[in-house]
Symmetry: C2
Subunit: 424 residues, 2 copies
Amino acid sequence: MTLTRQDCAALDAADALSPLRDQFDLPDGVIYLDGNSLGALPKATAARVQQVVRDEWGVGLIRSWNIAGWIDLAQRIGNQIATLVGAGENELIVGDSTSVNLYKALSTAIALQKIDAPSRRAIVSERSNFPTDLYIAETLAREHGMTLVLIDADELPAHLNDQLAVLMLTHVNYRTGRMFEMAQVTRDAHPAGALVVWDLAHSAGAVPVDLTAADADFAVGCGYKYLNGGPGAPAFVWAHPRHTARMDREQLRQPLAGWLGHAAPFEFTTDYRPALGIQRFICGTPALLSMSALACGLDVFAHAERFGGLPALRQKSLALTDLFIALVEARCANQGLKLVTPREAAHRGSQASFAHETGGYPIMQALIARGVIGDFRAPDLLRFGFTPLYTRFVDVFDAVEHLRLVLTSGEWREARFNERAAVT
Amino acid sequence: MTLTRQDCAALDAADALSPLRDQFDLPDGVIYLDGNSLGALPKATAARVQQVVRDEWGVGLIRSWNIAGWIDLAQRIGNQIATLVGAGENELIVGDSTSVNLYKALSTAIALQKIDAPSRRAIVSERSNFPTDLYIAETLAREHGMTLVLIDADELPAHLNDQLAVLMLTHVNYRTGRMFEMAQVTRDAHPAGALVVWDLAHSAGAVPVDLTAADADFAVGCGYKYLNGGPGAPAFVWAHPRHTARMDREQLRQPLAGWLGHAAPFEFTTDYRPALGIQRFICGTPALLSMSALACGLDVFAHAERFGGLPALRQKSLALTDLFIALVEARCANQGLKLVTPREAAHRGSQASFAHETGGYPIMQALIARGVIGDFRAPDLLRFGFTPLYTRFVDVFDAVEHLRLVLTSGEWREARFNERAAVT
């Protein structure tokens, strides 16, 4: 028996997290199921960004580096994110893009292995990992005379061997939403002599993560997806303190050794002396307007602590995706859709993806035209993200109803839905 | 004979560029001579950023990649900057920080030389170059088994030899304001077999630059200084089209090969195929709020075209610095100040720096307390930047008068001015 719209409304009425939706400015007529690509706008952000532009920049000018605290904003925001991913204070820092941070983290992991285990030449990752991760790894592998080995997730045990230098995985797969068991994978990889780098792009703010408990080595993540930091929000990078402590002792640097990662940037010395701890992973001057917006996205999570925080959000996220999957399979049966997201809660992030036998691009375009915004991932995936902060159970119901109408009416076959946009 | 305040007011009254000051929101009670560190806020920026936050992000959400043109904003803004530095259309791209872009550009120059002239092992730069340039170069030199050779500017001819792989210079020195003759230096370096990478951090928007006429190889620059893009605004990178054409032919990549620099990012392929031309220098998702603010800074330069553009701005800039130097030397004589900026217009950027026999940090703090904002550069420089877009001749007069009072009254010896702030 599947739920009715009334049942969903009742779920919303009973949802202790429902007040969190008021933290966001959401447009009318839209059901937004793409917060895993670009999170929605928190209500506080516009005013805060305006304050940064008009007061901190316009009036404070250069003085704001001290007076408005710009100089340590990357660390303060890093500490906000740290609480969401199980990192310790001053272990995680914000800045640059996910790709750039991955370059820093993976380079460092490689450098450490070149010292400790120079015979190991393989960087292993998942074939369906997000492309930027693979491109960064491929370039670094080539540079360091190593090999990037791409595997399917179930082939992992066979690759935990004496060739493996670094295992680089994205915790939640951007296509399927399948989630690795971070602690178990790391526990298996370490005795095999590997370091593990995790990309948390689809995890941070979406599922509980505990980097410390998992004993991970490095992690990076994205500010503009579930953290609601705004388009192109700065990303973050974390290194286990055992690695930064060693970098401190041995004066190791990450390759993007920029002036703000120097121990004393305003001494303007000609030689690089890395800052202690994670601060050496800072490179140039951070994009402060974008960074200030990210802080507002994180404030929502601080507020959500009163409602049970990430564990409660996770529970709702799973309820939303469970409902979505059940409704699609019941109401859109025999329409060419096939679930590619794991049904088991423990193996799933905060999204649900369906492959469609025809590819599915125009189906998503037709849905978007109806105000149901998910996204399409080539070659054949309809991807729907569920942000428990602002997604309601009735949204799930209505989205599925639109999907059913798109499929059964055949409206997606109209020419206009087949025109490719630059970003799909 | 030095000018009076009345003379300066007359210069302002006769200044055809004076209406450009109305393009900026400047705080009351401040004479801002630090636009070479962080440019002032253009009047249009706050509303534009608000529009990006509320409408493009808040309402448009993910759709804004297409509808609001986020996807090609980096190139459109790049083309705005291109007109200021003598780059061709689609030859210059915006994103990341100056440090990160320098890493891309210098890595590429090194890679090209490793193919063409592998015996060349020296990267030569100026000892007093901005530290981040030296740190990035030092790291890359180490990585590639090369040597970073730091020299004084006048030693350059002796280093144009068969060891020189890459000459990396900042066009206008951040400390002294001394400007290299870009065309001449490049003309001397090429026959010696070197590639030349220019950092335009203190040039773009401040002095006319013609990368094409100079036949330069690579350039990077900063968005938040004279371009008035806001704190931490994205930077830019340019490569001569002969190099990008070759990279196209030979499928060469820059090291930060991220997904948005892929030829077809939304095909999500596992292997990296670089975009053509300068677009391969894009890495991850750009900080769109910060980038949108940068566009407003550049719109001011488009507007300034009606007033004669950069040549007219340059003329005013030189008049302002000439006046400042003359007034300081006349009115603050025998106060321990010594000009370190070249007196010859052709050898000077848009700033004037004075060393002070005591160091000078508390002198700048006392000036700032009086509302005259320049900055201090260790160990002993008082640095004053002159942005002709918004600086008046009376500002110059008043700033010197404050400096005279600070010096002659001895107020800078007060304890409060000696306390070091995080950013000096």
